[in-house]
């Protein structure tokens, strides 16, 4: 019996010893300070910053630490925004463990804005007007509390295959293409119909649901009223009209290549000339270049149906859980200043959301060799300024948007239903959500 206990203890000790040797790297936030303004600004502090994907902050951290020797910045990173979201949601639900600065994506705002007390108020009159109006409006609550500072945005233009345009007898020069597509979605679809008739099998765009995403982002109240109550899908005439438009365009007029974005088929479609245009936010340029290696003819036109659209974008927040509110706020403000964002842009291509940065020559002079040396910086800056509408996204926005996206995918990608049948299924799914 004693031997048994000895053995158990031995194993436990070995385990503990090994873990103790290696656990030196993990840090836990100092839970004793309840993070407020009384901290001495020169006191040594360690700030954790959690980002995902590529924010381009590596050198900026070095710079800040050099300028502020009392501050040590520890970077935490997740590969994708979905992973980061799971991580953040776990720690929010658990009530502890969040970093001093947490990067969030615009898509997460719909739920996070329901719980503004989980975040520190970052309102600062000195920073008024730093960001594009719709960008900062999205993180401002009705009471004027600001829960995040904008980092990057995803202004959209139209990317197109000049070589396929040429074969179909269409203009190839990007200014001409911009004139051609200038207008609203009907214009885009009509030109598309014309193209498909002459293209010999090449579709106009890659995915109905991706195009829908662009259309719905120009509607003021797509799925919910401004007080947050959902619009029953059966009564939502505006969205139904958009759905009908895109469904007709995609399947009846054969404008869609029927691909699900990011799937294997979609990746391979870049090499097999399956489609000629697509909605193109700044961060998509790298993806197209990667997938379309060896394909010549991609270009980008300074146009977007309906004027302008945004897809994606992030903010830096300071969670209430953290211990160093003031210092974190200071760092977040610095990181999201126009000068720093431009540096991040130069490092990793994140498109700035700050008004001053949009005038910066470093941005405006940028060209992209793969896209026929197009002045992408300038094009996207102009598209960013053309954005007029920021759709209202309340707590149920994504659940409701998913219903329509699913309906379009059933129709466009999977072909399991026709337009009417798929919409009926969406209505059923709406009822199942039990919102009204």
């Amino acid at each position: 019996m004693r031997a048994a206990i000895r053995n158990l203890a031995a194993v436990a000790c070995v385990g503990a010893l090994l873990t103790a040797c290696s656990s030196g790297n993990g840090t836990t936030p100092d839970a004793t300070q309840s993070g407020s303004a009384s901290a001495d600004p020169n006191e040594k502090v360690t700030l954790t910053v959690a980002t995902f994907n590529e924010f381009g902050y590596e050198e900026l951290f070095e710079e800040y630490m050099a300028d502020n020797p009392n501050v040590t910045i520890e970077a935490r990173k997740a590969a994708t925004s979905n992973e980061a979201r799971d991580n953040m949601n776990t720690r929010l639900a658990a009530g502890s463990g969040l970093a001093d600065i947490e990067a969030i994506e615009i898509d997460w705002l719909t739920e996070l804005m329901q719980y503004p007390d989980k975040f520190v108020d970052l309102a600062d009159s000195e920073l008024d007007g730093r960001w594009l109006e719709w960008k900062s409006a999205a993180v401002t609550t009705e009471d004027g509390k600001v829960i995040g500072y904008g980092t990057d945005i995803g202004p959209e233009a139209i990317c197109y295959r000049a070589d396929l345009f040429e074969k179909a007898g269409f203009p190839t020069d990007r200014e001409e293409v911009a004139d051609l597509l200038e207008g609203d979605w009907d214009t885009y679809f009509n030109v598309g119909k014309d193209f498909v008739a002459k293209s010999g099998g090449v579709a106009w765009f890659d995915s109905a649901s991706a195009t829908f995403q662009g259309m719905v982002n120009q509607v003021e109240n797509p799925f919910e009223n401004s007080d947050g109550t959902p619009i029953p899908l059966s009564e939502n005439d505006e969205i139904k009209a958009i759905y009908d438009d895109i469904a007709t365009a995609a399947t009846d007029d054969n404008l869609s290549a029927g691909l699900a974005q990011w799937s294997e088929d979609w990746t391979n479609a870049f090499q097999t000339d399956k489609f000629a245009t697509m909605l193109c936010p700044g961060w998509m340029l790298g993806v197209i270049e990667g997938n379309a290696q060896g394909v010549e003819g991609w270009d980008i036109a300074n146009v977007f149906p309906g004027g302008g659209g945004n897809w994606g974008g992030s903010y830096l927040t300071v969670p209430e859980q953290g211990a160093n509110h003031e210092q974190a706020k200071k760092l977040a403000a610095w990181l999201t200043a126009p000068e720093q964002q431009i540096k991040a842009f130069q490092a990793k291509g994140t498109f700035p959301s700050q008004v001053e940065a949009l005038e910066d020559p470093a941005l405006l002079d940028q060209t992209n060799a793969f896209f026929n040396d197009a002045p992408t910086g300038q094009i996207l800056a102009e598209r960013a300024k053309a954005i007029e509408v920021a759709p209202f996204k309340g707590p149920n926005y994504f659940a409701l948007a998913q219903l329509v996206t699913d309906a379009l995918n059933r129709l466009d990608v999977e072909g399991t239903d026709d337009a009417a049948g798929s919409w009926d299924k969406a209505l059923e799914a709406y009822n199942a959500l039990g919102l009204s």
């Binding site: 048994a4 799971d86 294997e264």
Partner: protein, 311 residues
Amino acid sequence: MNQQLTRSQRLSRLDVKASPYLYISPFFILFFIVGLFPLVYTAWVSVHDWHLIGGQGEMVGLTNYIDVLQQPNFFKALRNTFSIFLLSSVPQVLAAIVIAYLLDTNLRAKTFWRMGVLLPYVVAPVAVSLIFAKIFADQSGLVNAVLEILGTSPIGWHADPFAAHVAIATMVNFRWTGYNALIFLAAMQAIPREIYEAAIIDGANRWRTFFSVTVPMLRPTIIFVVITSTIGGLQIFDEPRMFDTLGQGGADRQWMTLTMYIYELGWGAQKSFGRAAAVSWLLFLIIIAVGVINFLITRSIASSSSGKAGR
């Protein structure tokens, strides 16, 4: 007979009586700390209106359960889960036994063959999902390309529910068949060689030996594998999630399993922790029920076959 027990005899008695409980206690202690707390927590969550971020709402009793049982998505998930489960477990167990039997022979380079069949178990998910995406892509995938060459029409792997289930079951079988084969192998190694030799002396060939000697002696292991496959199979999560990049289970929920449904309810757009917890408990009960059924079926089949073997 009525002698006073000596001290060492008393200690020995205590040793015998207490040791079993002591030996099983590490599991139970650990379970009570890291297993029971989540269980109770989930049960507590399931009877509340609980938002993942917002936290605890009011107590709603069985409302979450009733709500969930009225959702069409719940039943789709149920259908998908059972379909994938049957398509994967049945071929897997059969193939595993056969492969184990082949491995149990006097092969040259035993280690190579034995470890070779376990290789799929170690391939990282990102590689598995990429490879199977290339095989099962609807438009540009390998299988459909071959089908076109053969003249038949392509299959909508990501459109048709049954095709999706077959593809996912293939991924699951790929990963776990070798694993189960080694479990059977370990059990087969424990069968005394004399019994085989006796059977061979009696004139039985390889197949007769397999059915009359190996399978009956493997009965407990077969039960073990059936139970663990049932429990694991009804909880399949990784493979269907990797089947496309969205991880939702298809626009029409063609291949969404119950565990994916739990994840969607709890972490997805609705963030309804309460509903997700309710589905978790329902799934738990389903697994117990199916597990017991499978256990009874397997036990009766296996004992009837050993009965037939006779002596």
